[in-house]
Symmetry: C2
Subunit: 366 residues, 2 copies
């Protein structure tokens, strides 16, 4: 054993969550979004847990290459398309679908078509109001026709800015109106819904849904309450152990900056997990950590600033905790979204930031 | 080329910063702290850039193993010692120095000594007020004598909680008093100073200094102003490119939640870098990004929430920026500490969180 920190990836939870998507969008095909190393879960985990998907959506050609090398024969979508001309040959060799979101990419494909009859599967991206990637509605149809004229299969895509909110502009309805107008009368399938739309905008699914965060069992809003009844299961558990215990007198301080002051004589547990493992440094005193005890385990609050390699917790709830006691930082006992919310962010950021130094273990029974 | 994001590691900056430590602590030996993959810079970078150090201090035995495999013959210190009994044989085979910070580790070494005459180099850790790792002053001397009786070389170590602050308890002076009393009359060298103490507490160096953050050219306080005149050079530059540009009308919104609203007709640049690359999701509108222009480059502020794979910036300062324009997220034009401060954290967290998907290139000329 090295440091006792470990990320456990529950394969059955992946399968369960993918089935939830099938249930919620029974007529759609599924692009499982696995960019950022499967949101930090590692590609080997998603390849096994999400094997029943129709396709994987990602960013990096080397990830596509890895999936093909492992024998994946389904579709692969490059969510931001090509970053340069020299990626095209490899992308086609790997039989990838391409998103096309800017004129430079259209020009590149036109230059390529001049000396090739290769038909490419394209998802043309409309900027329907998010103002990140994609073509303005005023030029979208022109781009469609230019690509269609090259003999490519051109499908339609857009991305919602606020499918997880009700009071922010642009709304899903506004973006849907924009999309419908832009694609009116054009052939091709559609891809619209992210996790939030799959859960909460059931009329905005399209032919291909694009679940991301819900596959990992976290909330699109970053608030665990919002998926508490959605029947999703957290896939990742981050666990570690208590590696030291300090006995404080009232008035003594803990850690850098002395942020926590002991209100009475008490024990502080030191856990082998810090921000360089991916735990958020913003986590304030009170952020919950689950500690195994002789009973069923209890929640102990963080006490003192998160360091690079360690967290300190108030052990008053766990009088029988000792060096070697197991802790869960997030997962099945403490939702990652709850830790994230305490730190002012969303669960997405935590799981994606799982550090390479944390070993990952695939758990195959639920 | 894949995604255009890149972390450049400036080897000459490492050498320069290590020389600064030598100048500031000319009589001390140097443990260069390279845990967390060299604070995100990768071990191959520190091995080359910090080759003139006296020793490397780290956490993971597999990192020690990697350094030995690469031919490193200097000292290696395991900063948290052994995490379990079965690490001991490997730690000794790798000729590591051990920190001993809890009774379990002392007991383990006593059990081992019963069937071995192996003399181990130990840094015994005193908890002088930080209340994280280490022995209380009341039992420190007892632990020293137990380990000394086993024939080991026992040196003394403690860690400052507030060497980067002047108004927080415990102070460096209080911790120094505690340390001096605890080790009085005991043989052995001392290791006290982290980067902040090397820079600002020149009477608290000890025989072995332990620079961390200053080797990477960032500030112990997390505020760039505090090292602006310390003659340190940033080692990591994180760069990317503009991959799309949107033309907004006044009143249009950008990104998730529509956080940024265009005050006038303007261009928004989309950069291939997001929180899954290690950029802080907390970064608010206004956080500086350097953009290469036909001139010397300008600062453009973030406009809209940081997404997983992308950042959006206000291009009004850079009328000639286009798709393909280079940007620096942090490094030589924008200090990592400045980005961190905008996001409510410290540069340490940013560099440590550099994601594995970001390629790293070693730059050998300054």
């Amino acid at each position: 054993m090295n440091r006792p920190i470990l990320a456990s990836i529950h394969i059955e939870a992946f399968k369960h969550n993918l089935n939830r998507v099938r249930t919620l969008a029974p007529e759609a095909q599924i692009w499982s979004v696995v960019k950022a190393a499967g949101y930090g879960h590692r590609l080997e985990s998603v390849l096994e847990g999400l094997a029943d998907t129709d396709g994987f959506a990602l960013l990096d050609l080397r990830d596509a290459d890895w999936l093909r090398t492992q024998g994946w024969q389904g579709r692969i979508l490059l969510l931001e398309g090509l970053f340069s001309a020299n990626e095209l040959t490899e992308a086609l060799a790997l039989d990838c679908d391409l998103v096309v979101h800017c004129q430079e990419q259209v020009t590149l494909l036109e230059a390529f078509a001049a000396h090739s009859g290769h038909a490419i599967r394209i998802f043309l991206k409309l900027n329907s109001g998010m103002n990140r990637l994609g073509f303005a509605p005023t030029i979208y149809r022109d781009m469609y026709h230019r690509l269609h004229a090259l003999g490519h299969q051109v499908d339609h895509m857009t991305h919602f800015a606020n499918a997880d909110a009700i009071d922010q502009k642009p709304t899903v309805g506004e973006q849907m109106d924009c999309f419908s107008k832009a694609v009116e009368g054009l052939s091709g399938k559609t891809s619209l819904a992210n996790s939030a739309a799959i859960l909460w905008h059931r009329t905005a699914l399209g032919d291909w849904v694009r679940p991301g965060i819900m596959l990992y069992g976290l909330s699109p809003t970053g608030l665990h309450e919002d998926i508490a009844h959605a029947n999703l299961k957290p896939v990742m558990s981050l666990t570690s152990e208590i590696i030291d215990i300090q006995h404080l007198a009232a008035g003594e301080h803990v850690g850098y900056g002395g942020r926590y002051t002991a209100p009475q004589a008490m024990r502080i547990g030191v856990i082998a997990c810090g921000y360089a493992d991916g735990y958020p440094r913003h986590a304030p005193d009170g952020t919950p950590v689950w500690v195994q005890t002789n009973g069923t385990g209890v929640i102990c609050p963080i006490a003192g600033r998160v360091s690079m390699d360690m967290i300190t917790i108030d052990l008053r709830n766990a009088p029988d905790a000792q060096i070697g006691s197991q802790v869960e930082l997030w997962g099945q006992k403490v939702p990652a979204d709850t830790v994230a919310a305490a730190a002012g962010t969303i669960g997405y950021e935590l799981i994606c930031a799982l550090a390479p130094r944390v070993p990952v273990e695939l758990i195959r029974k639920s």
